[in-house]
């Protein structure tokens, strides 16, 4: 079982970091405004996976007491990162909604989504 845990260690953290890097890459290099916002939301997903993975415990159960398992406290996964991610997901959605509305307004003003044509202020 230890061997699998090592594989999962690399796989989960690695893919979370990869997701973040892909999102950042898209947000930094792409020209389309919608692509940029999409990149930011992928970046968010990566961070959320990272946070949940930190709270995981080997052979753990979900942090919910049900009728039979009041005593199984020591094998429960950490509930705090889950609560934090819950907050972070909702906040991320709020930011995405604001970003999308800004994109729609920029399109209305400039009639394009390409950032190199919108650039009037210095970036």
């Amino acid at each position: 079982m230890e061997k699998y845990l090592d594989i999962l260690n690399v796989a989960i953290y690695g893919s979370a970091v990869l997701l973040m890097l892909i999102g950042l890459y898209g947000a930094l290099t792409k020209k389309s405004l919608i692509k940029i916002v999409l990149g930011l939301s992928i970046l968010d997903s990566g961070v959320h996976l990272l946070m949940i993975a930190i709270g995981y415990l080997k052979d753990g159960t979900a942090p919910i007491f049900s009728a039979g398992n009041e005593e199984k406290m020591s094998v429960m996964v950490d509930p705090i990162p889950q609560a934090l991610v819950l907050t972070a997901i909702v906040i991320g959605f709020g930011v995405t909604a604001v970003a999308i509305s800004l994109v729609i307004r920029l399109y209305r003003h400039h009639n394009t989504l390409r950032i190199d044509e919108i650039k009037k202020l210095k970036w």
């Binding site: 290099t29 930190i54 049900s66 009041e70 509930p79 705090i80 609560a83 999308i100």
Partner: protein, 231 residues
């Protein structure tokens, strides 16, 4: 050139992140005397709430939830300020494809059960997975289905504002009741009951219901505002 700089800095960032988190390790207990066990035991013994995530979100760290609800409120407020004009009137919305009769009947059939599911999820937030945010979002997706299917389906904006404001006021007034009677904001003022009962956890259930209504109203409002933009 610019891409090269970005790739290099992303590489550095990725290297350090992987370094940090591979070192931290996966699936092991990271710390010895953290607050995790305190949360678990307090949730079981004092609050009598089965779902520990709910007791953290609503009670132990309830202030975060207040801020989070405010973030959604702010997002819908800011959205109204950003998309300031060229709003469609009710019923004049353009749809990509007119929905077929099957979709229309299906949506009509599904809508009540989606709302019921959402209500179930936030009423039982302290017993099973789910809660105000999840239930509120599910209800919002129900409204989204109706808005997408029926061209002239509309949600009364004033009614959304009523729900939103009243739910928010309920949340804060429960907090203030705790402050004035027990001396601490959001403190539990009701009997906690027995574990795994519907009426357990004192004010947690009531707060989560308020959060559910508020989230549902706000998300529906956000979708409604964006959907009614003229292109």
């Amino acid at each position: 050139m610019k891409i090269a700089i970005i790739l290099i800095s992303l590489g550095i960032l990725g290297f350090y992140l992987m370094d940090i988190f591979f070192g931290i390790g996966f699936g092991v207990q990271h710390f010895s005397n953290g607050v995790k066990d305190l949360y678990l035991s307090n949730s079981k013994d004092i609050l009598k709430v089965s779902n520990v995530v709910t007791s953290i979100v609503v009670n132990f760290r309830g202030f975060d939830t207040l801020g989070e609800v405010t973030v959604l409120f702010l997002a819908s407020t800011a959205l109204g300020g950003i998309l300031y004009k060229k709003r469609h009137h009710v019923g004049e919305r353009s749809v990509l494809f007119p929905a077929s009769r099957i979709v229309m009947s299906g949506a009509k059939l599904l809508f009540p059960s989606i709302v019921l599911l959402g209500a179930y999820v936030f009423i039982h937030g302290h017993l099973s997975p789910g809660g105000g945010f999840q239930g509120g979002t599910i209800i919002a997706t129900g409204f989204l289905l109706m808005l997408l299917t029926y061209r002239n389906y509309s949600v009364s904006h004033n009614r959304l504002v009523y729900f939103e404001s009243l739910a928010g006021i309920l949340f804060i007034s429960i907090g203030l009741v705790g402050y004035f009677s027990k001396g601490s904001f959001l403190e539990n003022v009701l009997p906690v009951g027995n574990m795994n009962d519907l009426f357990s956890g004192g004010v947690i259930g009531i707060i989560y219901i308020a959060v559910g209504f508020k989230v549902a109203a706000e998300l529906t409002g956000i979708i409604y505002t964006v959907l009614h933009e003229k292109d």
